[in-house]
């Protein structure tokens, strides 16, 4: 491709630390910058969740956790986890690292814009964190930022916090747009010879589709953030009807709070899949590699990704069944929501069938990948409660919802984040991680999160409302529910603390890990076939790879080795098999 001879702007001195690791235009460095920033801000959000859990499990035990602080934690925890950790990690982190390598490209097609994307992301994180240092602190409006509450007195951070939050989101969206355009263009334009669309690994399909979703969905959040900012700063009334606030008539009128919710969830629901789809893709490749077996039903998997992406734009109002919108809309959105369950279920089946008759290696990435299937299963199934309008009405705004979305959108994707970090760590660093530590990390995380969230569903059945600072004096909540809350708090803090196993493993293995070699897993995809490990800037030395086959030629009958890299030409046997009309040719393997 024309890309091969492009020069990477090395004139300033390629070896200087600052150009190599700070102002870098290398997609791999940018990916790691994204990943480390996301982990750092994620740790902040994790600590906030402990403080919340302390208040719920042991009310009043921490003096400084008053209702104001509590609602600020609720808001910051949610927003950081959804946007600044998960979205950034999957697309900015894994998307950046894997797209050029898996597609056989030298880099993203717009490396400078890619670098800018990271720096805008970092700026958005800093603006967000700055809200802890302004008068009144961060906003406590909940991550959904519903007006009128989010911009009126009575909600923490209404003076500065909400403004910084909206500004930070706007900057994040600019960062995402620069990155997203890059990912899409790279996938469409910079694939190496032979890498047809239907030979792309599912990781690429999934990240590509998620990016398209992001580019279509984030503008809705952008405009709602700008409009809300106008309502707050310029006294417009986009979302503000006539209001009598604390005994005083406000100078607002004509706006609609429900309009904000429509805009927010028009972004917010695709956002769930912006996080989930990359997880689907990554886990498909990890499962296939370590089961030493092709992913089952590749074409179905691709269509399921595309179908989920498309349908995800017409399900948003299932977050709004009891929002006061026209009730007849419930029929439409319940139906579309349950329809989207079908391609999602197909994906779960295909992951499990991939295990069937496999030759399963249970190393750390594989454990996390299977852990994902199990946790995602719970989250997906509870989604069938909340997507079905009549079932949602009693459960809405209770702990059932908290359990559901943490399982489906926090624990399951984080399982994949860990699976993928362990899986690609040898390629990123050239060293193996420590397997024992990795397994301990898996067991504590998997079992611990299960203990946190499984019982929470039952608190939801009991009707315990979410976003409550305290539950004292509510008679319908049983005494034992408070003990259960203590248990959940202990489990949550334990799981959080034990994540240190992961950090130790990452840092320690950087120097002390065994040399990994170029392809420790015997994987087929292109990133494992690079001439250097970790890959050099530009990924491939003089020649770009050429692809001859799909990404899943594991355990091909008649072959001695149990994997065939994508860039290995077809052998004489394979050739003659397909020439003779396909006798013995594996059924359905894309050519």
């Amino acid at each position: 491709m024309a890309y091969a001879d492009q020069d990477h702007g090395h004139h300033e001195g390629p070896d200087a630390f600052i150009w190599k690791y700070v102002w870098s235009q290398d997609h791999k460095v940018i990916a790691i910058q994204y990943g480390c920033t996301a982990i750092a801000v994620g740790i902040l959000a994790l600590v906030l969740s402990w403080l919340m859990r302390m208040q719920i499990g042991y009310p009043g035990s921490l003096e400084f956790v008053d209702p104001t602080a509590y609602y600020q934690y609720v808001t910051m925890h949610g927003m950081i986890m959804v946007i600044y950790l998960l979205t950034a990690f999957f697309l900015g982190g894994f998307g950046n690292y894997l797209i050029p390598l898996m597609c056989g490209a030298r880099d993203m097609v717009f490396p400078f814009m890619n670098m800018l994307s990271y720096w805008f992301y970092l700026a958005s994180v800093l603006i967000l964190c700055a809200s802890y240092f302004v008068p009144g602190g961060p906003t406590g409006a909940g991550w959904t930022l519903y007006p009128p509450q989010s911009i009126l007195q009575g909600t923490p951070g209404v003076d500065w916090g909400i403004i910084l939050m909206l500004a930070s989101l706007a900057v994040f969206i600019i960062a995402f747009t620069m990155g997203g355009l890059n990912y899409i263009t790279t996938v469409l334009q910079a694939r190496c010879r032979g890498m047809t669309l239907m030979r792309m690994p599912l990781t690429i399909w999934a990240i590509f589709t998620a990016t398209v979703l992001g580019l279509l969905a984030f503008p809705a959040l952008f405009v709602s953030a700008v409009m809300l900012m106008f309502d707050r700063l310029l006294d417009t009334s986009f979302f503000m009807p006539y209001i009598v606030h604390m005994g005083q008539a406000l100078d607002t009128g004509g706006g609609s709070p429900v309009l904000f919710q429509h805009l927010f969830w028009f972004f917010g629901h695709p956002e769930v899949y912006i996080v989930a789809l990359p997880a689907f893709g990554l886990v498909s490749d990890i499962l296939s590699t370590h089961a030493r077996k092709n992913i089952f039903g590749y074409r179905m998997m691709v269509w399921a990704i595309v179908a989920i992406g498309a349908i995800s734009f017409i399900v948003w109002a299932h977050h709004m069944y009891i929002s006061g919108m026209n009730l007849y809309l419930g029929y439409f959105f319940a139906t579309t929501t349950l329809i989207i369950a079908i391609p999602t279920a197909i994906k779960v089946y295909n992951w499990t069938i991939t295990l069937w008759n496999g030759n399963i290696v249970l190393n750390t990435p594989m454990l996390f990948a299977i852990g994902f299937v199990s946790t995602f299963l719970i989250g997906g199934l509870t989604g069938l409660f909340l997507g079905n309008v009549a079932v949602d009405i009693p459960l809405s705004d209770t702990y059932f919802v908290i359990a559901h979305f943490h399982m489906v959108m926090a624990i399951a994707p984080v399982m994949v984040v860990f699976a993928a970090i362990y899986h690609w760590y040898p390629k990123m660093t050239g060293r193996m991680y420590n397997e024992t530590l990795g397994k301990w990390h898996f067991w504590t995380t998997f079992l611990g999160t299960y203990l946190i969230y499984f019982p929470m569903h039952y608190l939801g059945f009991e009707g315990m409302p979410r976003r409550y600072y305290a539950y004292e004096g509510y008679e319908f909540i049983s005494e034992s529910a408070h003990s259960l809350n203590e248990f959940i708090t202990v489990a949550a803090i334990a799981v959080g603390v034990l994540q240190v196993l992961f950090l130790i493993n990452m840092v320690w293995s950087l120097k002390a890990g065994k040399e990994a070699g170029p392809n420790p897993w015997g994987a087929t995809t292109l990133e494992w076939q690079t001439p250097d490990t970790p890959p050099c800037h530009g990924n491939w030395r003089d020649e770009l790879p050429v692809v001859y086959r799909w990404a899943y030629d594991y355990s091909v009958p008649g072959e001695e080795v149990d994997f065939i890299p994508q860039n290995q030409p077809r052998s004489a046997t394979e050739q003659s098999l397909s020439d003779s009309g396909g006798e013995g040719q594996p059924q359905g393997a894309p050519a």
Binding site: G140, S256, P257, Y298, S374, L377, A390, P394, D397, A481
Partner: protein, 364 residues
């Protein structure tokens, strides 16, 4: 291997937990048992899938664990299997969706004999309006809200004259009588939520939302807010009492109508009663307790005359001047340990005096 055992134990443990769990639905007290039924249909369908898939994974992990001697099967696709799975899943989805939509049709179609009652949410309190003798509510709009007309009933609408306004007290409703709750908000989003009734709905400023139910169990029920509405959200409580027909009529007869209430609280009345009413109307009590417990703001019990430490370290005796300032400009001198989240209430001189008179009674 360990993974397989853990997955199996997880499934077994979950089933045991389910049957052992003391945490389950609150006892049903409305006609919406059908909602519980749809939850249970979904529960068993999804529970079956949960068990089946986890056990299938556990089986694979045991049976197909890695051995250098064997090779995985090469099977890229199996259209028959994929077709069957898609078909069965669609069937399962339909089995959950269809009953759900049937129940939902009941939910959105209010019976014709339903009595309309209004619940009004504002930070952080619920108020109610019930129809009087004429059986119908008059028009209301937030633009009509005044001190004597806290729910904004149209003073010129003859239908509204006999409406009964309930502020800061439990509302009573009649057992086995279908009731349509019309929901209005004065300020931000709220959600009218009685766990035992199952049905709930957001309360949105600028529009009237609704839901209906038939209460089937007599007694008192807690009303909560289920939509984040600011720092007092968790404390936005109220009560609804479900009475038999006789008790309900008795209660109703004791209530004063909107027309009767007009002018009753005219300036010059009892300042303590006026202060108490102001406190209830403005939702003060969600944050300021009357029993000494700590809330979002300082308790009012014993507040008058108390020496408070301020955020700047100085102290002040909470008497007339300081309390009046703290109502009209709450962030000017903050008591230490509390966050600056209270809005300014621009009360007139007389209302301030009424509030202070009320505070004094709480320090006796």
């Amino acid at each position: 291997m360990a993974l397989a055992i853990v997955l199996i134990l997880m499934v077994v443990g979950s089933v045991i937990f389910h049957f052992w769990s003391p945490w389950w639905f609150t006892p049903l007290a409305s006609n919406w048992g059908a909602m519980d039924d749809t939850i249970m249909i979904t529960f068993w369908v999804t529970g079956f899938v949960f068990i089946a898939v986890n056990l299938f994974i556990a089986y694979c992990v045991i049976k197909f664990r890695h051995s250098p001697d064997r090779k995985a099967e090469y099977e890229p696709e199996n259209h028959k299997l994929e077709g069957w799975l898609t078909g069965l899943t669609s069937l399962g989805v339909f089995a959950m969706l269809a009953p759900g939509l049937i129940v939902y049709t009941d939910f959105i179609n209010v019976p014709e004999d339903a009595v309309i009652i209004e619940a009004v949410g504002h930070q952080w309190q619920w108020s109610y309006r019930l129809p009087g003798a004429d059986g119908a509510l008059g028009k209301a709009d937030n633009r009509n809200i005044t001190f004597d007309n806290p729910l904004g009933i149209d003073p010129d609408d003859p239908w509204g004259q006999d409406d009964i306004v309930v502020i800061g007290e439990p509302a009573h409703i009649q057992l086995d009588q279908p009731i349509k709750f019309n929901l209005r908000s004065k300020d931000v989003l709220h959600n009218f939520y009685v766990p035992q009734w199952r049905a709930k709905m957001d309360v949105v400023p600028g529009l009237v939302s609704y839901f209906w139910l038939t209460p089937t169990v007599a007694g008192g029920f807690e009303v909560l807010c289920a939509e984040l509405c600011g720092v007092g959200h968790y404390n936005m409580r109220s009560n609804v009492v479900v009475d038999g027909a006789v008790d309900y009529k008795r209660w109703l007869a004791k209530q004063i109508t909107f027309a009767e209430s007009q002018g009753k609280q005219a300036p010059g009345g009892d300042p303590v009663a006026r202060g108490e009413k102001l406190a209830k109307q403005n939702g003060c009590l969600a944050c300021h307790s009357l029993d000494g417990s700590r809330g979002v703001g300082p308790t009012w019990k014993g507040m008058y005359g108390r020496t408070e430490t301020l955020t700047d370290g100085s102290t002040v005796i909470a008497e007339d001047a300081y309390l009046a300032e703290s109502i009209t400009d709450p962030n000017a001198k903050m008591v230490e340990g509390y966050a600056p989240v209270m809005a300014a209430y621009p009360l007139g001189e007389e209302d301030l005096a009424a509030m202070i008179a009320y505070f004094m009674t709480l320090s006796e």
